[in-house]
């Protein structure tokens, strides 16, 4: 493999990391509060508001129903509005974020709903406001689940990022298609696949490690 190809692989890896990192971070910033709200606005919950919950749930489901490649193309005008251009790695972050937000919101919602209702009752009995309850009880208690959910979201984003080549997003997936497939360079395809496998493994291990670190639910073996 030529030095040129190695450079291209390196560059594509950095592009993928850039897209996944920024869209993952933005997806969390928007998805986390939406997920928390989805969990606490259900009927009979802390901030019970079934109508709003229903509408928000519909929007989330609608966004998640659209195949990612369609989403990328469909929102090109919006992408241009936000990023100033509809082509390139930075522009690709817009559809990736739009896809990540509802996905992360659902994962966070599930993690929050797993929190033992007895803890919510205990905090209410202490006179906690809804905001205190969310900040001091729900999020800390759901953190192991949220961490695993975010890990899953980042892994999915790595997969999605391969499709943004359609709008000139570049990155590993795009390199694999343009060189490995269209120019018949199987060694490039192989290299791309191997890098993706390693990336996903790293993200998964890191996420699971973090989740274990924040999970105090099971007694740990305290070696002395």
């Amino acid at each position: 493999m030529s030095a040129n190809l190695i450079n291209m692989l390196l560059e594509a890896t950095l592009q993928t990391l850039y897209m996944v990192a920024i869209s993952g971070a933005l997806g969390t910033i928007f998805g986390l509060p939406i997920g928390v709200y989805l969990a606490v606005s259900q009927r009979g919950e802390l901030l019970s508001s079934p109508a709003v919950n229903k509408v928000l749930g519909l929007v989330v489901n609608a966004t998640r129903s659209v195949p990612f490649i369609i989403l990328v193309v469909a929102i090109i005008p919006f992408t241009r509005l936000i990023a100033g251009t509809s082509i390139g790695t930075t522009a690709a972050i817009v559809p990736l974020t739009i896809a990540a937000v509802p996905f992360i919101a659902r994962l966070v919602e599930n993690a929050i709903r797993e929190v033992d209702s007895g803890l919510i009752e205990a905090a209410r009995a202490m006179g906690a406001t809804p905001l205190q309850l969310i900040r001091k009880v729900l999020i800390p208690e759901a953190l192991p689940g949220i961490t695993l959910g975010l890990t899953l979201a980042v892994v999915s984003l790595i997969g999605y990022s391969a499709m943004v080549g359609a709008v000139g997003g570049e990155g590993l997936g795009d390199l694999g298609i343009r060189y490995g497939y269209q120019r018949f360079m199987p060694e490039v395809m192989l290299a791309v696949v191997i890098i993706l496998i390693v990336l996903v493994q790293l993200v998964q291990s890191l996420g699971e490690g973090l989740a274990r670190l924040v999970d105090k639910r099971a007694p740990r073996n305290r070696g002395r």
Binding site: A122, A123, M126, G127, K216, P219
Partner: protein
């Protein structure tokens, strides 16, 4: 030791009712016309079977449930009519402990005890000495950096108690706090509650399905059945002279005084023809509780007494006994009259031919 406040009611339930909407079956009455005063500074037990409504009753004290009719007053505040902000203030005056402890798994012992103080907006400089003090009071100094998952059940409930005391409440609610603990641990937790009641003059309202818990620490008791209070009074009076069948069945559970099966199987309600034995329950209470009444019955009236089962224990400072005996049926009335004259309670359970 702090002087106890024993005047007035800390918690007052007035003609309280609670109904739930239930799908298919319409309204379900969980509580009906409950009136009860919990005297300040006492430990009051509410005993009932599961589904009797005791848990709903307890949750109305801190507004976790709202009454449908009637009112609950805590330290002068009407809980049912309080605004959200007022309710949060009332809740800081009412600590609560739970059957399953409800500790945050993400926080250490220290962090759990500090939580109500953080919620109340106590400055962080004041939190640490207060939390250290509370953890010492429940005897967990060495474990303050441990997480709940690393503690035993009894230790977790001690954390729960320390947490409930953090905001210096006037009232402590206990929701089956010892039901998930083994008997030995139950005793240590009950002792801790009794100490807290004595040292801090705190009013404790506890619900339980175990009469032993009431016997061990409660000075007052209310028996709840089918959403109504069927009997209430001081623990001693209720134990000495239970009026309602639910109370009796709870009592027979703890005194361990039940008929041996070879008698129980042959027991009949009417006196049969011919020679028969009358089976009597004798409850020893009051000043004759420690007198050798059965020996006197034999020596003074010449009535022979068979002891079938019995136990004597203490409720607070008073001895309290329960005996099942049989005497010759023909002399049963005479024997009972003699015992009643000496302030013992008797009850005919049946006859054995």
């Amino acid at each position: 030791m702090a002087e106890k406040q024993t005047t007035g009611a800390a918690i007052s339930f007035a003609a309280l009712g609670k109904s739930f909407e239930k799908k298919g079956s319409g309204q379900v009455m969980a509580l009906e016309d409950v009136s009860l005063d919990v005297p300040a500074g006492t430990i009051t037990g509410i005993i009932g079977r599961s589904g009797a409504g005791k848990s709903t009753l307890l949750r109305m004290v801190n507004g976790l449930e709202q009454p449908t009719t009637g009112s609950v007053t805590v330290a002068g505040h009407d809980v049912g009519r309080a605004s959200a902000a007022e309710l949060r203030h009332i809740r800081r005056d009412v600590g609560m402990i739970f059957q399953h402890f409800n500790l945050l798994s993400s926080r250490t012992v220290y962090g759990n005890v500090a939580l109500p103080l953080e919620i109340a907006g106590v400055p962080s400089a004041e939190i640490k000495p207060r939390v250290d003090d509370l953890i010492a009071r429940v005897g967990l100094e060495d474990l303050s950096r441990r997480y709940p998952a690393e503690l035993s059940g009894g230790q977790k409930q001690r954390v729960g108690i320390a947490r409930a005391l953090a905001t210096r409440p006037k009232v402590l609610l206990s929701d089956e706090a010892t039901s998930a603990l083994d008997p030995e641990t139950t005793q240590t937790v009950l002792k801790l509650l009794a100490d807290i009641n004595r040292d801090l003059g705190l009013t404790i309202l506890l619900i339980t399905h175990e009469m032993a818990v009431v016997r061990d620490i409660a000075s007052h008791v209310a028996v709840i059945d089918g959403g109504r209070i069927v009997e209430q009074g001081t623990t001693y009076d209720v134990f000495a002279d239970p009026k309602h069948s639910t109370t009796r069945s709870f009592l027979s559970g703890i005194t361990g005084v039940t008929l041996p099966s070879f008698i129980a199987d042959r027991l009949q309600p009417e006196r049969p023809q011919g020679a028969a034995q009358e089976v009597i329950r004798i409850t020893f209470a009051g000043r004759h509780a420690t007198d050798p009444m059965l020996a006197m019955l034999t020596s003074e009236l010449g009535i022979a007494v068979n002891i079938l089962a019995g136990a004597i224990e203490e409720i607070g400072p008073h001895p309290f006994g329960n005996l099942l005996v049989s005497v010759e049926a023909g002399r049963g009335a005479e024997a009972r009259a003699y015992l009643e004259r000496h302030e013992l309670l008797t009850e005919v359970l049946g006859y054995v031919g």
